[in-house]
Point group: C2
Chain length 247, copies 2
DNA sequence: TTTCAAATCCAACAAAAGTTCCAGACAAGC
DNA sequence: GCTTGTCTGGAACTTTTGTTGGATTTGAAA
């Protein structure tokens, strides 16, 4: 396996550090390897440190007593994770597993404390990173509070799809099971929601691949939790589509 | 109104600062007053700065298009809020209103940047505060993902109640409407959940006040989303309570 | 090709949550 | 006392989500 480092400047909070600082950080990091499916750490276990993904894919998730999963993130290089525990030294706040074979640099809590004490830029950068993380979680919280599952699914497609004019393909090969874990629901419900988006004309399917047809329609659904009758190929006059409101 | 400062050491990230540093921070802070019901700032508006509550009660909330509210926090002195926007200078991530007449010290983003640049202890403390905030949101996310509403209500009672041996009273005078906003649901649903907890013997009511009767039962419900048949005054032998599992 | 396992589709049902509506209870003020 | 507005209790109903089970498709391996 190659131990070539990723571009450490691609990590938001390592950017802008001088060469000496970056060297000290790299010296504090240890490269760990994980087989596909291997557990990296578990929720509640003592702080595993800060992780910088070198290669492979990592899943962060939480699980409830009945075994249902909530996938918080699917991460690739140069993503990092477990900043919260690495900073405060508390227990890991979620589980982490290697989806594919993976490698990651790990900086222990104590080592990070030393680095932060000597490198004020790193400290400031980490603060910005945590603020950003916080906004991210706040948005997820809003999704879970206010959005229906078709709406969350629409949002996922909008985010995941590689935009290419009007017609977009969903890039990642996510199974419905995996999508369900991301949305915090079950496979069957995702299947239903998918069918709804398909025969509402927002998505189109070819074989197993799914394409985004109506980006604006997905956005409308994500915002309002309701379908907007697609005015795509319809004559805008005289149709009305039983949408007339009596009141 | 009295402008006596709260004990600034009670604010987690002002603790441990020397006198000079604390003076510079206080110099950067401006006291603002708000009438009951007044808007402090709105979600999406440009960064309003860092707030340190002096007196009164403040509500942080989000709202969706249909006008449903999600109360993120109800805060009293010496709580602080809007750290995220104050640190990264971005838009406010939620709405803030004064529940009662209130006053708060405000430190603008630019002023906070200066302070953080000169006071490394403040920087380090803010980092810890954001890490803590992050854990808090992660737990809320889990609540919304995995817990039923009776379960969330049970958790709320466990947290809000002032523990006093076995029987505990819920201290804050929350209406069902306010509880609903905290749990992210509607008043009627809270009412139903409340009735369920009452006739399951977990809570008791006297007039309008609600008392916690079975703390362990509430915890069980919060953990498992299911009621545990109360083995309180029952003989532990020979009852079985139709709990026998055929498989 | 055949075969198999995984992924999907689909219907029917159960449970949870949201909605609508109205009747009482209670407290504050007249 | 009475009135008014807020809060609560509770039924009936709809929608959404979760669950179960079987049929079908798909892709890769044998």
């Amino acid at each position: 396996m190659n131990d070539l480092a990723i571009d450490w400047n691609a990590v938001p909070y390592f950017a802008g550090l001088n060469a000496a600082a970056r060297r000290r950080i790299m010296d504090a990091a240890r490269l760990h390897h994980y087989q596909a499916g291997a557990v990296i750490f578990n929720e509640g276990d003592p702080c595993a440190g800060l992780f910088i993904i070198q290669n492979g894919m990592v899943r962060l998730y939480r699980a409830n007593a009945e075994g249902r999963l909530h996938t918080l993130s699917l991460l690739r290089p140069p993503s990092t994770f477990n900043e919260v525990a690495a900073v405060d030294g508390g227990a890991n706040p979620f589980n982490a597993t290697a989806v594919t074979a993976a490698a990651a640099y790990v900086i222990a809590h104590s080592a990070l404390l030393n680095l932060m004490a000597s490198e004020r830029t790193l400290l400031a950068n980490l603060l910005q990173a945590l603020a950003h993380l916080n906004r991210d979680y706040l948005e997820r919280l809003e999704d879970m509070t206010f959005r229906t599952i078709p709406s969350r699914l629409a949002k996922l497609f909008l985010r995941e799809a590689a935009y290419d004019g009007q017609i977009c393909e969903i890039p990642s090969q996510l199974t419905q099971e995996e999508i369900a874990a991301i949305l915090g629901t079950t496979r069957e419900v995702v299947g239903r929601a998918m069918r709804m988006l398909l025969n509402a004309g927002l998505l189109r399917k070819q074989g197993r691949a799914v394409y985004v047809v109506d980006q604006a329609g997905l956005a409308y659904l994500a915002e309002t939790n309701t379908l907007r009758n697609p005015p795509l190929n319809r004559c805008p006059l005289s149709v009305e589509d039983s949408q007339s409101e009596p009141g």
